[in-house]
């Protein structure tokens, strides 16, 4: 391909760094945005844990600044705001921007061999809509009569004016709507880009698995974010115009609005949202495990098929969030069966990951450690899901800390680990600087160990019957003798929080003062690794022509005795390759 379409790089500050349409700049904007919100959300988690370990004691240092009226003590309504906004921020403003906003934007054009997203302007708009959503969400914390405190799920009628008179909840719903709109814009862009802008020769079976993960995430985004958008519109109408979508007319006999309708709508979106957050991480680690085990990804097509199966099934298992709301038994049993069926593609993914690293040549770099960590925590979280998929055990465990431990491991910890793996992996290409490996490994272990303790102890608390979203577990006698579990969780959680400072330090230092990154720091063959670090404005001087798959590691047909090959380089002739039955050239896999 010729040089058409290469425009000169914008030179003004605003066009270059702020209102840029360049996917790499937008990716960095998403990254910084997400990291700042992760910090804020993490701080909120620290406050929550502090309150649970030391009920009614002032939060050290920051408490006096944030809650001067109480001398730093977190009040019950503040506590509800904290966990509500912790959930909302972490999911919508922290993980989504980092995983999907940043790495979707960065990886999709880079890995498929395009110069930018298909509609760069829409891409920019997506970021600024998210920014607006974030601003509205943040502003909701400051309004009189209290911020949103109905949980991140925002169940009516607690989230309607019946339970939350302040305007904070309305702003929260608007923020979620705006963030959803941003994700839809991103999703449309991602799908169209992947379908239309793949470089010549980049067939569907030569896409890195990262792109597949992103593709399915984008599909879920465009299909299910409108659902939450509509649910939020109805909520806003209920709150602002006195409509009756979610508020029943009478206490007992139906009529009027239906609070359960919201639960259905919310979870029709909410369960796919779990996969929206985890599919990119699955994509990353499927690639990274292969990259750093120097082995092809085991069962590429099966992995993609499993991701597809999860995508398709994700919409029809949502009922397991509602086992105690009074679903009809038939529906309950169907959802239990479907939930168990969706675990099969999950098992297949595990099987393929474990098979990928088996008999490899493992380079335990930081991205690899985080990928292996993802397998570990997702394994733990996924398996404990069995308790919650089973209605008769879920009846006891629903809305206890067991659920908190489970979903933090599956959708929070694993996607966070996936995000960290991706940051450590692509930092050199994005910023042209290496992250410090020693600090990175320290960060991994200092995160991994406390994290496992935090959520395993949460399982234990839930097993002992400790309900979630309680301000003070020592208030009721039944829970007083479980306080030691809270203290243990909190101590580990503070360690976990402190460990993130290592990352913040490493990231900031390496961003400006880190070692200069070589062109191909990890010796892998994807398209982005062939261009200089940091990546130049239009990515590819000429659009590359792809001839091999992304995972041809240790292929005997690779010339020059390397164990990797660029996707643009052909493998040696089949006849020249040793007669290993499994050594097939890329075209056949």
């Amino acid at each position: 391909m010729s040089h058409d379409g290469i425009h000169p790089e914008p030179t003004s500050f605003w066009r270059k760094h702020v209102f840029s349409v360049d996917h790499k700049v937008i990716a960095k904007q998403f990254l910084w945005f997400g990291l700042v919100w992760l910090l804020i959300g993490g701080m909120m988690a620290m406050m929550i844990r502090w309150q649970l370990a030391n009920p009614g004691e002032p939060f050290p240092v920051l408490g006096a600044l944030l809650f001067p009226s109480t001398g730093g003590v977190i009040q019950p309504d503040t506590y509800n705001v904290l966990f509500t906004m912790h959930g909302t921020i972490m999911i919508f403003l922290g993980l989504t921007p980092v995983l999907i906003g940043c790495f979707g934007n960065y990886c999709i054009p880079m890995l498929i061999g395009a110069r930018d997203m298909i509609v760069p302007l829409l891409n920019m708009l997506s970021f600024w809509t998210l920014m607006l959503g974030g601003a509205v969400g943040f502003y909701s914390l400051l309004v009189p009569l209290g911020a949103s405190e109905a949980g991140w799920t925002g169940y009516p009628t607690l989230s309607t004016t019946v339970g939350a008179p302040g305007s904070g909840e309305t702003l929260w719903a608007l923020a979620v709507f705006l963030i959803g709109a941003s994700s839809i814009m991103g999703g449309i862009n991602y799908i169209t880009t992947i379908v239309r802008l793949r470089a010549p020769g980049m067939t569907w079976s030569r896409l890195p698995l990262t792109i597949w993960g992103m593709f399915f995430t984008a599909i879920l985004n465009v299909l299910f974010l409108p659902v939450i958008g509509s649910a939020m519109i109805l909520l806003v109408l209920d709150r602002a115009f006195g409509t009756q979508f979610y508020v029943p007319a009478t206490m007992i006999d139906g009529g009027g609005g239906d609070p359960i309708l919201y639960q259905h709508l919310f979870w029709i979106f909410g369960h796919p949202e779990v996969y929206i957050l985890i599919l990119p991480a699955w994509g990353f680690i499927s690639d990274f495990l292969s990259f750093f085990a120097r082995k092809p990804a085991f069962g590429y097509r099966v992995t993609v098929g499993a991701m597809l199966a999860v995508t398709v099934l994700s919409a029809v298992v949502y009922g397991h969030h509602m086992f105690t709301t009074g679903l009809s038994p038939m529906l309950g049993e169907s959802f239990m069966l479907l939930t168990m069926i969706i675990s099969v593609p999950g098992e297949i993914l595990f099987f393929n990951w474990l098979h990928t690293i088996w008999r490899g040549s493992l380079r335990l770099t930081t991205p690899m450690l985080f990928s292996l960590g993802t397998v570990f925590v997702f394994g733990l979280g996924g398996l404990t899901g069995l308790y919650l998929a089973t209605i008769s055990t879920d009846i006891f465990l629903h809305d206890t800390y067991f659920v908190v431990g489970h979903f933090h491991l599956t959708m929070a910890a694993s996607s966070l680990f996936g995000a960290f793996a991706a940051i450590y992996f692509w930092m050199p290409k994005m910023f042209g600087r290496m992250l410090d490996e020693r600090l990175g490994k320290l960060h991994f272990w200092a995160t991994f160990i406390p994290l496992t303790i935090v959520f395993c102890v949460m399982f234990w608390s839930g097993y002992a019957g400790m309900p979630r979203r309680y301000y003070d577990h020592t208030y009721l006698e039944y829970l007083r003798d479980l306080q030691h579990l809270n203290v243990l969780t909190s101590a580990a959680a503070f360690l976990l929080g402190a460990a993130q400072l290592i990352f913040a330090f490493n990231f900031i230092r390496s961003r400006w003062w880190g070692a200069k990154a070589p062109t191909n720091p990890w010796e892998v063959g994807t398209l982005d690794m062939a261009v200089p670090s940091p990546v130049p404005y239009y990515n590819f001087e000429t659009i590359p022509t792809v001839v091999t798959g992304p995972h041809e590691f240790s292929n005997p047909a690779i010339p020059d005795g390397k164990d990797w090959i660029f996707q643009t380089e052909p493998l040696a002739d089949r006849a020249a390759a040793p007669t290993d039955p499994s050594a097939q050239p890329a075209a056949s896999h």
Binding site: M1, D4, G5, H7, V21, A114, R115, D116, M117, I118, V119, P120, L121, I184, G187, I188, N189, I191, T192, V195, R196, L197, V222, L223, F224, L225, P226, V227, G229, S230, A231, I233, L234, L237, D238, F241, G242, T243, Q244, F245, A249, G254, G255, G256, G257, D258, L261, L265, I268
Partner: protein, 195 residues
Amino acid sequence: MTIASIHAPVEDTRDRTNAALGMAIFIGSWAMAFAVLFISFLILRQRQAVWPPVGVTLPSLPLAVAATLTLLGSSFALHRSVSALRRGAPFTSWWTAGLVGGLVFAVLQTWLWADLWAAGTTTFTGGTYESLFYGLTWFHGLHVLCGLGALFLARIGAATGRYGHQRRAFVVNAAVFWHFVDVVWIVLFICFFVP
């Protein structure tokens, strides 16, 4: 290529395909939002023993029928216009007809709201019917406004020569969005106006 196409005077098949695919995904996505609203309608209507609920003044039927036919007519005009555009024939007069049809629809819709509000059927004091009626028609109305904006921009662009046979993706997509608004209205019509 793509980035160039934002400012380029002509577009090629590739660009048109991109635009068509993007629009198809957008319509698919946004139809989900309306699907959710219609599901809410079904559920809430089912919870109501009598429909329409006792004491509710229904909107004026002739007005609603007029609005529906206007919208259908406007869709038809836009379709003729796009067909002409694709052939390279003059298309602006049909387009103007469609745009005017859309404007008339907006006026009729406003009239409907005003009528109903004057009759005492308001959101603030109302129940399920009012909630659904105003909630869904307002949301639809916003899309009508967006659609009218797009139709208007396309018309201006056609007048200034920005859009034409060689550069028509925006025009086609504006028409497609308008048809989508039309389809939603057809379902709304059956939900609220037919007693």
